[in-house]
Symmetry: C2
DNA sequence: CGAAACCGAGAGCACTGCTCTCGCCAATCC
DNA sequence: GGATTGGCGAGAGCAGTGCTCTCGGTTTCG
């Protein structure tokens, strides 16, 4: 687009590196991601790649950001196709989209939400923003549902004091208006959602133990909606 | 104990290898587990280790089994200290024990419940039995609670057909007597439990976002008890 | 046009998993 | 008791890894 031919060539090469890296990530997994192999596929000697990527860790960061972005885009796109006021369907859209993406790209999902790669620490300033898109979509959904009166605030066990204190900052940062109970259950639903997906993707359920995984997940989503107090429409 | 001196020396060396491997796993992480480094710590050249362990993958398997066993023992021990009929306390014991163990041994937890190590496939015949101890403790707890009338079968969304069919085999294999609703919610609670722990151990919550993690987890456990319909005592 | 920046190739270091051969020593067999 | 077998550690070696450095060649810019 812009800049000198050299700049364009450079960003083209960068894009190629990320693309090839994603391929290797899909087929081999994160720990097997080798800068030398990427260089080979790029048709270049290994040291040349270091002109573009400072280290293997930085390549991982590039892939992490690309993965978060792709997942966030998928969720946003799915939400765009669901009626604004149908909160149950919106929650279902978020959940099934994340699950489908995770099943389709298990290695990338593992990189983002699985065990951290040893020795690698994702730089917060580059990964937190794209990495929180899904959870922000979730809390936004709950906030809208609550504002529309579509959430019946659950009774349940009392929210511990330290959690309620922390919620003050969370509310301020996200500009939320949600009671402690809903917020606390929202955190649980968030963790549970990814727990269900991780169990399926990482094979913790075992093979064919619970029948159709999509049906199982759909049911789990419904129960989670109940957990946060979401009632189908106001 | 038994066998020739050579046999005893061999099993001693095996135990040393596993012990050193666990140390490296704790400090470096699974992907950085190096057979050569273990050999160095053992005071022996790398090829000598191959007399005891066929490959790096087999060392991983040994560590996986050791980890599952340790976690299972911890859970059993904790359950032994809780009154038989106090089902809420028993669920809490299981949950907090798993969480405490995970926080104390994050690398081992990641190896067992995080993203699978690429290229490594745990042999089912050696890992499924110890790997299912926690979930078996969970369903046993629910079965006992249900038999004691301490579970109020939830209404909630209907259990999908494929799941109900799969439950037939599950019930037969574990000798259970639990309605579909409880079983389905039990699966969800199981996945959610590990989802919460994984989020904490893997740092998905972010630093200090929700205050005291133990308090957060305790609250989540209580909500999960509610999810499966567990009522404090009959 | 010349200086400066950029970039690819190649060599090299330290590390990894793993295989192979060579001896040494102990347990076993006759 | 002597010969044989088998386990075991050491060492060399292969192919791969991340990463650094230097050396030319090309492109860009002042």
């Amino acid at each position: 687009m812009e800049g000198t031919p050299r700049d364009r060539a450079r960003s083209q090469t960068m894009a190629d590196i990320v693309r090839i890296g994603r391929q290797h990530l899909s087929t081999e997994g994160a720990a097997a991601l080798s800068l030398r192999a990427v260089a080979r596929d790029l048709g270049v000697v290994s040291s040349a790649v270091y002109r573009y990527v400072a280290s293997r860790d930085e390549l991982l960061t590039l892939l992490v950001v690309a993965g978060y972005d792709e997942l966030g885009d998928a969720v946003d796109s799915a939400l765009g196709k669901v009626e604004e006021g149908d909160f149950g369907a919106r929650l279902s859209a978020i959940g099934t989209t994340v699950r489908a993406w995770a099943v389709g790209e298990p290695a990338m999902y593992a990189l983002l939400f699985g065990s951290p790669v040893p020795g690698y620490h994702a730089p917060a300033e580059r990964t937190t923003e794209p990495g929180t898109r899904v959870v922000r979509a979730l809390v936004q959904l709950w906030a809208q549902a609550y504002a529309a009166g579509a959430i019946q605030v659950p009774q349940g066990p009392p929210v511990p004091g330290s959690l309620a204190e922390a919620f003050v900052a969370v509310r301020a940062e996200l500009g939320l208006d949600l009671p402690d109970q809903v917020l606390a259950r929202g955190v649980l639903a968030w963790a549970a959602l990814f727990g269900c997906i991780s169990f399926e993707v990482f094979g913790q359920y075992g093979p064919d133990t619970f029948g159709d995984p999509a049906a199982l997940f759909e049911h789990q989503l419904r129960v989670l909606a109940e957990t946060v107090g979401l009632t189908d429409r106001a």
